[in-house]
């Protein structure tokens, strides 16, 4: 490994350092605030490092990693999300009076796992990244262990994630047996000569199970609602965004190198999964009264939409998928930010009753949530609309009509429950629940400002996506 290769890995090294530094800070018994601020600065450093090494890309660190524009994009998105989640975590955990310090170690480790996924081009690095992510998540989900649903959620995730890892390993072993390589490019060359054997397809199927579990795609979605509900809200936001972005990034790279979309069977499998996710996710969300569960089902549906952009396997599809993930991450973080801001020590703000007539009581918070929901529903003036538009456009280009029609019809079903929350926000009966008092004015205000900025970002992206689109393109050219 030479210096330049090391330089390309700089953001990831800084990210790994972050958790080490947090451990040291805890050893010196420094306060939550210090850890929070240092964590924030470290993440800023990662962003800076990514920007710094941008010009040296793409760089292959054989055999495990490849750092290219696409990886930088996904890593950037992941770091952006963890910045926001870290900020949200402060008021959330400080108010719950449990020891929140180790939380940050786990948070950064899980982020590192997701970031490794974005640069891996080898089964080993894929597995390391995925396990780093999963194992940290086991603890993160059950972090507030005294709360009702936390341990249940943690156990559920633990068992199912362990099974899915087993599937992943078995699938990798089968593919290795068939092709004699663990590197994606190596697999691709063998496949190019010999074609896909049944054993390879079986291995691929096993891997799809594991990936489907991580992305909460139907029929591997059973954990989603319980885990979303039981985890602390910042962790839910983490699962919904970072964990899924990382997994999707590795799926995308795998399929790009292997040319997965050339196999009709794969297309059929992914179409079926995508259609099932869109239908099941939207229908299950219809009657939910719990906002976090509702967002869980809606995110199942959203990853169904995302797969529609994945199906064509072309440039436009990749661009659409990345734009979609950006819009989706900002939207979901905004929604969870509102939940966190309204939660208090006694209760999680996940019951819809709390949101009744919120707009007349706290107009700004409620408008932010309404913007996020409009974005999820894909209504113009918000980023969600353009994201959906680009997906539709990628799909129409390759004429994958059936998933497209399903996408259109199910997103109409989806409208119903988003509108239901929005009407709740605007209803004339104002909820009598008192709003939590602010204990930490500085962090409270900065969370508030972040939310306003993100809502503004959603609207801005929804009207002027030009800059983001062109920068996605320039980054994607670095490969």
């Amino acid at each position: 490994m030479n210096e330049l290769q090391l330089l390309a890995l700089l953001p990831f090294i800084v990210l790994a350092m972050a958790s080490v530094i947090v451990i040291l800070l805890i050893a010196f018994r420094l306060s939550h605030t210090v850890i929070q601020v240092v964590g924030f600065l470290m993440m800023c450093l990662v962003v800076f490092a990514t920007w710094y090494v941008k010009d040296t890309l793409p760089k292959e660190i054989a055999p495990l990693f490849i750092v290219d524009g696409q990886a930088a994009l996904f890593t950037g998105l992941i770091i952006f999300s963890v910045l926001v989640i870290g900020l949200f975590s402060y008021i959330y955990f400080e108010e719950r009076e449990e020891n929140p310090k180790e939380y940050y170690i786990l948070l950064f480790l899980a982020t590192l796992g997701a970031a490794i996924l974005t640069i891996s081009q080898h089964f080993i690095s894929l597995f390391i990244g995925l396990e780093l992510l999963s194992v940290s998540l086991y603890a993160l989900i059950a972090y507030l262990r005294n709360r009702n649903n936390a341990v249940e959620a943690g156990m559920k995730y633990l068992i199912l994630a362990a099974i899915s890892s087993a599937f992943l390993l078995f699938g990798m072993a089968l593919i290795y047996m068939e092709t004699g390589s663990m590197k994606f490019a190596g697999i691709a060359t063998v496949l190019g000569q010999a074609g896909a054997s049944p054993l390879f397809l079986m291995g691929l199927g096993m891997i799809v199970v594991a990936i489907g579990f991580k992305l909460a795609l139907v029929p591997f979605h059973l954990w989603a609602a319980d885990v979303y509900q039981g985890s602390p809200s910042p962790v839910t936001a983490f699962i919904a965004t970072i964990s899924k972005i990382g997994t999707f990034a590795v799926l995308l790279r795998f399929s790009q190198i292997i040319h997965l979309q050339h196999y009709p069977l794969v297309i059929i499998i992914f179409s079926v999964i995508s259609i099932a996710s869109m239908i099941a996710g939207n229908i299950l969300a219809l009657r939910q009264q719990n906002l976090k569960r509702l967002l869980a089902y809606s995110s199942i549906a959203h990853f169904g939409y995302l797969l529609v952009a994945f199906l064509p396997g072309n440039e436009a599809g990749t661009e659409a998928a990345i734009f979609y993930l950006i819009a989706y991450a900002i939207t979901l973080l905004t929604a969870f930010g509102v939940i966190i801001l309204l939660s208090s020590r006694q209760r999680e703000a996940d019951n819809l009753n709390i949101y009744e007539g919120l707009i007349w009581k706290q107009p700004i918070i409620a408008s932010i949530l309404a913007i996020a929901l409009f974005s999820l529903a894909g209504i113009p003036l918000t980023a969600g609309f353009l994201a959906k538009f680009f997906i539709l456009s990628a799909g129409v280009q390759q004429a994958v009509w059936l998933p497209l029609i399903v996408l259109v019809l199910t997103s109409v079903i989806g409208l119903y429950y988003y509108l239901r929350i929005i009407t709740t926000l605007f209803s004339s009966t104002v909820s009598t629940e008192s709003m939590p008092k602010t204990i930490h004015p500085f962090f409270h205000i900065s969370t508030y400002i972040t939310l306003v900025i993100m809502a503004g970002l959603l609207c801005w992206l929804g009207v002027f996506p030009g800059i983001i689109l062109s920068s996605i393109r320039t980054f994607l050219l670095l490969h």
Binding site: L392, S393, Y416, L419, G466
Partner: protein, 489 residues
């Protein structure tokens, strides 16, 4: 550029209303009123531009700016005579909708006028957008404020009505989005120029089957909006539950966007496919005329009754559009304007009655003529207009449509004519139940106030003028006939 200013005025006026209403609700109302009046004045001033333009059959204002150039989306707005008429109608009804909610809206005034103005902005955007993406964008923008108008200030079943309205229209518009994208890629592959521009896409060559599917995508959205009969289900609920101004905008403007879409997009883009589907559309139109009239006759809810008359009248529009004759097309444009005015007036009247009697049930009204002679007089005028009496605008419209349709489809035209008889039936029944007969209302009711008088006078004058001098309107839209499929004639 002036067109963008018009929309910006509406948008910023809306925000200003929302901000000021907390302290000064009255100021918010005036801001809303002045905003729409300012736009109306600009639209009137555009007449001079139009007159000065040498060739009055084409686009006399055309403005294009980059928006998302990488995918061929531009901010392209343009105005021809037809769009100009619709803009005038939009601002005219906009002023009236602000006026008629002056007293009706007591709570959350700021947000109400915000929604009203943004909805108007979306509607005017639809009428001037010449980029299909921009068109779709505005098409959606006008829905959300309307949804809020219904769901916050509506009547008892407002949630149900609002969801139904939103979901019905959304199905159509997403299918239209697919159709737009398909057209975009077909055009892009043929010419290498990927664009959403109206004039660019106009000459896309599509083969028969593809054209038919894409056209159906467009038509579906417009048919739901118009509404064509099997898709009319949302209309009675939305119209009857919405506040008065909401009903006015729905009936007067939102339905017209459907007709506008068919005339502006479906016919020019897919001439052959439109001809092949024309018999079906005429059939559906005639069904709508008869079915809407019959249902209107059997309603007891005043606003539902008026809503079903819209279904019936929009049937005429559909018949007129798909009979592909110049005279019928002129009738269609007349119908768009006069229906907006006459039905709008009826809804305003229903709103005034509701404000006084707190009911929409016509069995609980009766004999109101004695206490409200002025409103009664206006009501007679507009029920007659709705029934298509000569000297009023609707007569010209429906007469032209039937005249134009007769040449191609005598049988259907004859059946459609029955609609005129039925319309007389339901109009007279409504008038009789509400204003004539035994006096059943015991509470003292006031006749119309000055503000209400102004609204009604403006509507009455315009409907009479349209009935007596329709020629200016017909002149401005004469060029529409040139985009008709020539094969048919």
């Amino acid at each position: 550029m002036i067109l963008i200013w018009m929309i910006c005025i509406l948008l910023s006026g809306g925000i200003l209303c929302w901000l000021t209403a907390q302290r000064l609700p009255l100021l918010a109302k005036w801001i809303a009123l002045l905003t729409v009046i300012a736009d109306m004045l600009i639209a009137c001033w555009l007449f001079r531009v139009y007159e000065a333009f040498p060739d009055n059959t084409s686009w006399f204002i055309n403005y294009q700016a980059n928006w998302i150039p990488s995918v061929g989306i531009s901010f392209h707005v343009a105005l021809d005579g037809f769009s100009h008429l619709l803009l005038l109608l939009t601002f005219f009804l906009g002023i009236l909708s602000v006026l008629c909610s002056w007293k009706e809206v007591r709570e959350k005034t700021g947000f109400y006028f915000f929604c009203l103005l943004w909805s108007l902005a979306g509607i005017s955007g639809v009428f001037i957008a010449m980029d299909l993406f921009l068109f779709y964008f505005c098409w959606e923008i006008m829905l959300i404020p309307m949804f809020f108008l219904i769901v916050i200030w509506g009547d008892a079943r407002r949630r149900y009505a609002a969801y139904k309205f939103f979901i019905f229209t959304q199905v159509g518009s997403l299918l239209m989005l697919l159709a737009i994208l398909a057209l975009y890629f077909i055009h892009g592959r043929q010419t290498g120029n990927y664009t959403f521009d109206y004039f660019g896409l106009l000459h896309t060559v599509t083969d028969g089957a593809t054209a038919k599917w894409i056209m159906l995508g467009f038509l579906f959205a417009f048919a739901i909006k118009l509404p064509v009969v099997p898709f009319h289900n949302w209309l009675p609920d939305a119209h009857s539950e919405a506040p008065t101004a909401g009903s006015l905008l729905l009936a007067g403007l939102l339905l017209k966007t459907g007709a506008y879409g068919i005339i502006r997009f479906v016919l020019p883009f897919f001439p052959e496919a439109s001809v092949s589907i024309a018999p079906w559309m005429i059939f559906l139109g005639v069904t709508g005329i008869i079915y809407g009239a019959l249902l209107a006759f059997s309603q007891t809810d005043l606003k539902r009754l008026i809503a079903y008359t819209s279904v019936s009248h929009m049937g005429f529009v559909l018949v007129g559009i798909f009979s592909f004759s110049n005279i019928a097309m002129q009738g269609v444009v007349m119908q768009i304007l006069t229906h907006g005015i006459s039905t709008g007036a009826l809804f305003v009247m229903a709103g005034m009655l509701k404000e006084r009697l707190h009911t929409r049930d016509i069995t609980q009204m009766g004999g109101l003529w004695t206490s409200m002679p002025a409103l009664g007089g206006v009501a007679i005028l507009f029920t007659m207009a709705s029934a298509g009496l000569p000297a009023l605008g609707n007569f010209i419209a429906e007469f032209f449509i039937l005249l134009g349709a007769f040449a191609g489809n005598p049988v259907f035209s004859v059946i459609a004519t029955l609609g005129l008889i039925l319309s007389a039936l339901y109009s007279l029944r409504m008038l009789q139940k509400v204003f004539m007969g035994q006096q059943t209302v015991t509470v003292p009711v006031k006749d119309i106030s000055t503000r209400e008088f102004i609204i009604m006078a403006a509507l009455s004058i315009s409907i009479v003028i349209l009935g007596l001098f329709p020629q200016p309107v017909i002149d401005t839209v004469r060029h529409l006939s040139t985009i008709h499929p020539s094969i048919h004639e």
